[in-house]
């Protein structure tokens, strides 16, 4: 009654959803991933450039979604391309989000296994996180958005706490010289970094739920901006503390940063537990939103409003099973690369295709003005 009964979200919530979705595995791996590409300490420039690319792409997607007010990607792709092709597009989206969810949950299990619970089977941690996700997702997008809103301040506070502890050993010289090998390595890094902003595809869906869809461009730009800020800071501090040579050898350099920090005389001497706590929450945000979008897609494909809950629960074993497809942690990162290409399909190829079809069928004129 006091709140909107329909599943509406505010512009602030959209911003939070976008940035929470983006922040995930990247916090831990990005410093290595980008330094691998650049080979110089200039990774942070690549992160900024990648962020700008992502903002551009996100704004375009938001604009694109605005052409179909009140409709999600799933709905308008069926409207434009017809039932059959539309269903195939929907299933592509469902598959993408399911795979992404499985990737996130597997990554979470790997990290937890490595740093927190070496003796506990990964099946347990994965299963529990998935159950929590289902519990949240059946509450609808509004509940999801509110949870993320609540988590963001916690994330910000604890994350900065950990990062700034690293300042004691921070050395600016590790970041120098800037652009020692020119722009080329930096631009190579952009390819990796822009994919670490995986999450702007949410703009295909979220504007349909916004109470003020006009703000969607602003929301996505600010949302990506927040995650960009986190990423840049992480890369700068991790490289500044650990040096380029070390970072490329570490799987999760950010955790090693937290481990390298020791504050004497305080109750805790090591702070990676805080980082891991925050990071599990952030992984969970990505996971549950993927879960939601996958369930939403299935609901559209089968065109039954009441089947959302069964689909959400039904996706659990699928995500869980897909999570076990990669056998080693390197396979897992390969899935991450695959997801990058699938993302390009989702946000570049399909929208362009839809635009062309819509133009040909003359469906855009009514909404353009």
């Amino acid at each position: 009654m006091l709140t909107n009964l329909q599943d509406r979200i505010t512009s602030t919530q959209t911003t939070v959803l976008v940035s929470s979705f983006i922040l995930g595995l990247g916090i831990l791996t990005l410093p290595r991933a980008v330094t691998d590409e650049t080979g110089t300490p200039d990774g942070w420039i690549s992160v900024i450039l990648g962020g700008l690319v992502a903002m551009l792409a996100g704004s375009l997607l938001a604009k694109f979604s605005q052409c179909f007010p009140g409709k999600t990607f799933y709905q308008y792709s069926q409207d434009i391309a017809g039932k059959w092709i539309g269903n195939i597009i929907c299933l592509y989206g469902v598959g993408y989000f399911t795979l992404l969810a499985s990737f996130e949950v597997r990554a979470m299990a790997e990290v937890t296994d490595f740093f927190l619970l070496p003796a506990t089977p990964k099946e347990v941690t994965m299963g529990m996180l998935l159950l929590a996700s289902a519990y949240l997702v059946v509450g609808g997008l509004n509940a999801v958005a509110r949870l993320y809103e609540g988590f963001l301040p916690i994330t910000v506070i604890l994350f900065f706490l950990v990062l700034f502890m690293g300042f004691k050993e921070f050395d600016v010289d590790h970041l120098r010289p800037v652009l020692s090998k020119g722009w080329l390595p930096v631009l190579q890094g952009v390819k990796t970094t822009s994919l670490s902003y995986l999450g702007l595809e949410t703009m295909l869906f979220l504007p349909a739920f916004m109470d003020k869809p006009r703000d969607s461009v602003k929301a996505v730009v600010v949302g990506i901006g927040i995650s960009m800020f986190f990423y840049v800071l992480t890369v700068i501090i991790v490289i500044g503390v650990l040096t380029v040579d070390d970072v490329v050898t570490l799987t999760f350099p950010t955790i090693d940063l937290a481990r390298s920090v020791e504050l004497e005389g305080v109750f805790f001497e090591r702070y990676e537990s805080f980082l891991l706590a925050v990071w599990i929450l952030q992984i969970f945000t990505t996971l549950s939103l993927c879960h939601y979008f996958a369930g939403l897609g299935l609901r559209h494909v089968f065109a039954n409003e009441n089947w959302f809950r069964p689909f959400v629960y039904g996706l659990l074993p699928v995500i869980y099973g897909l999570g076990w497809v990669p056998t080693t942690i390197n396979d897992m990162f390969a899935v991450g690369d695959l997801l990058g290409y699938l993302l390009l399909g989702l946000i570049v190829v399909i929208p362009l295709l839809l635009l062309i079809i819509a133009k040909m069928r003359g469906m855009l004129h009514a909404n353009h003005s």
Binding site: L116, M128, R146
Partner: protein, 540 residues
């Protein structure tokens, strides 16, 4: 009515006519009941006369304290019967304000007598003679519900309706200091069990006609009075309607003995530990809530009023936060949030670190913990469970016992058993510290209902920590957050203003900023009038 009991049976019998002459001669100083017995029976002269109360008396009369008083209006042959419940009705009031005007002062302006009685006699009596504030006309069939609330019913011969006269004389306890919500600084006034008294306090504190009351009767058999109080012009109409709708749709129980029943009957989620209505016995808290745009439910027979909607933040607020200056107020509030966190998570974090992640605590501390745990035969999860349950038992024991004994129990339990358990090597001293710190933290939570929920939640966290270590604690935190986020109290998200974010409401959330800055009512309530504080120049 002092001798009511003695003359009970004789007065219950109906239709004992009195001669008008005799009646006018009697003195008002004598109690009506006594006089009635003295009057000689008039034989069977007026046997045809049947008053409408007869059936009621016949049904219930012998088993209740129902009394009738028959008389003639002064100077007429018009017969009148007064029906009331002996224990509840105020006999002084009946004598002074009902019988006296009718027996001594009654006078019809024209020459009406028993033969040509004016048709609006009831209205004349009501409007000109009864010196009672609250008199209503009701149908004869509705009389019994009024009588059993302590009202008196007056029937005049020939009338088809009955006057119900307010002669309630409710017994209530004196106002006392609220026991469950103690303050260092603030009003010492707490509600008592009488709805009338409690409403009177509210009226006295809010001298504004916009303070509105909707009264209802709940409890199928006891018909307790319930009041929905709100501030018109501030309250969100949707909220008010929702509260009213839920109370109307409540299951009809025989009795609603306490407002806790209402709370359980109108809350939206039964599967949660968190209270979705706030109960309080502090009028100042109620007034503050009313002015924020909340709706208050008062029930006759209990000092605990309900406030709806409630948010998580309210569980950790005390009126004192506002009475003290804002800096100590804010700091104490922060302390409470910290204490709430400790209450739920301290034992579980201890378990997680000691059993799973010894590497994450400083080496020297780890060694000293290990040294104290030497010889303890249980894993820390069992150890902490034993201790936590023991302390819950102690707390419950201390609560139900008479006060002096309760303190002894606390002393014996806390000191002796704790010390002995450590000496015996069953638990480690650090565990005792953790458990007692947790228990003390839980006392910091100002709302009893909130404190209980957090105490229970602690056990879930301990199980998760015992099974999955720190991941379990994080998982539990996650589940708890999801639960709280999905929870709503009358449509208001439970953890607002944190989620959804209402930044302007953060002025009164974890911090309590200066009064000057709190210019608006809580945004989450969507009040009609948002502005709370107007600058002095604008007031004129």
């Amino acid at each position: 009515m002092t001798d009511g009991r003695k003359s009970k049976t004789s007065r219950i019998r109906k239709a004992r006519p009195l001669s008008p002459k005799k009646l006018s001669a009697t003195e008002p100083s004598a109690s009506p009941g006594a006089r009635e017995d003295e009057t000689p029976s008039g034989g069977g002269a007026n046997q045809a006369f049947v008053d409408p109360f007869q059936r009621l008396i016949e049904e219930k009369g012998t088993r209740t304290e129902l009394r009738t008083r028959e008389f003639y209006l002064r100077g007429t042959n018009i017969r009148a019967v007064l029906l009331f419940l002996n224990e509840l009705a105020d006999s002084k009031m009946i004598n002074e304000h009902v019988l006296k005007p009718l027996l001594i002062n009654f006078r019809l302006s024209d020459e009406a007598d028993g033969a040509n009685m004016p048709s609006n006699l009831l209205d004349i009596i009501k409007d000109r003679f009864l010196t009672v504030n609250d008199v209503i006309k009701v149908a004869v069939s509705d009389v019994s519900s009024h009588i059993f609330h302590g009202n008196a019913a007056l029937w005049i011969e020939g009338a088809d309706e009955v006057l119900v006269i307010n002669t309630k004389n409710k017994k209530s306890r004196k106002f006392a200091e609220p026991l469950t919500e103690a303050l260092v600084r603030g009003p010492r006034l707490g509600f008592n069990e009488s709805l009338q008294d409690n409403l009177a306090i509210l009226r006295q504190q809010v001298a504004n006609p916009n303070l509105s009351v909707i009264t209802k009767h709940v409890g199928q058999r006891t018909k307790k009075e319930l009041a929905i109080v709100y501030f018109a012009g501030i309250v969100n109409e949707d909220l008010l309607q929702e509260v009213e709708r839920r109370i109307d749709n409540m299951i009809e129980l025989d009795d609603i003995p306490e407002s806790g029943y209402i709370e359980q009957l109108i809350e939206e989620n039964h599967m949660t530990l968190f209270p979705q209505l706030q109960s309080t016995e502090r009028p100042d808290r109620i007034v503050a809530a009313l002015l924020e745009g909340r709706v208050v439910i008062l029930l006759d027979g209990t000092p605990f009023a309900l406030i709806a909607p409630v948010t998580f933040a309210m569980l950790l607020q005390s009126p004192e936060d506002y009475y003290e200056r804002w800096i100590p107020g804010s700091l104490i509030r922060l302390l409470r949030y910290f204490a709430a966190f400790l209450t739920i998570f301290l034992p579980s974090i201890y378990i997680a670190f000691v059993s799973f992640h010894q590497g994450l605590i400083p080496t020297t501390l780890a060694i000293s913990i290990a040294a104290t745990r030497e010889g303890v035969p249980f894993p820390s999860i069992i150890e902490s469970f034993v201790m936590e349950i023991a302390i819950e038992i102690l707390r419950e024991a201390g609560l139900r016992l008479p006060k002096p004994v309760g303190q002894t129990v606390g002393l014996v339990g806390g000191l002796v058993i704790g010390e002995a358990a450590v000496q015996a090597g069953i638990v480690s001293p650090i565990m005792v510290i953790v458990v007692s710190l947790t228990a003390i933290s839980s006392f910091v939570i100002p709302q009893y209902a909130g404190g209980i929920s957090m105490r229970v939640l602690r056990f879930g966290a301990m199980i998760c920590a015992g099974v999955l270590g720190l991941f379990g604690v994080i998982f539990y935190f996650l589940i708890l957050s999801i639960h709280l986020v999905k929870l709503k109290s009358f449509g208001v998200p439970y953890v607002s203003p944190a989620a959804p974010i209402y930044l302007s409401d953060w002025k009164d959330f974890v911090l309590r900023l200066p009064q000057k800055m709190m210019t608006r009512r809580p945004k989450m309530l969507f009040t009609q009038d948002e502005i709370r504080l107007r600058s002095p120049t604008k007031r004129k």
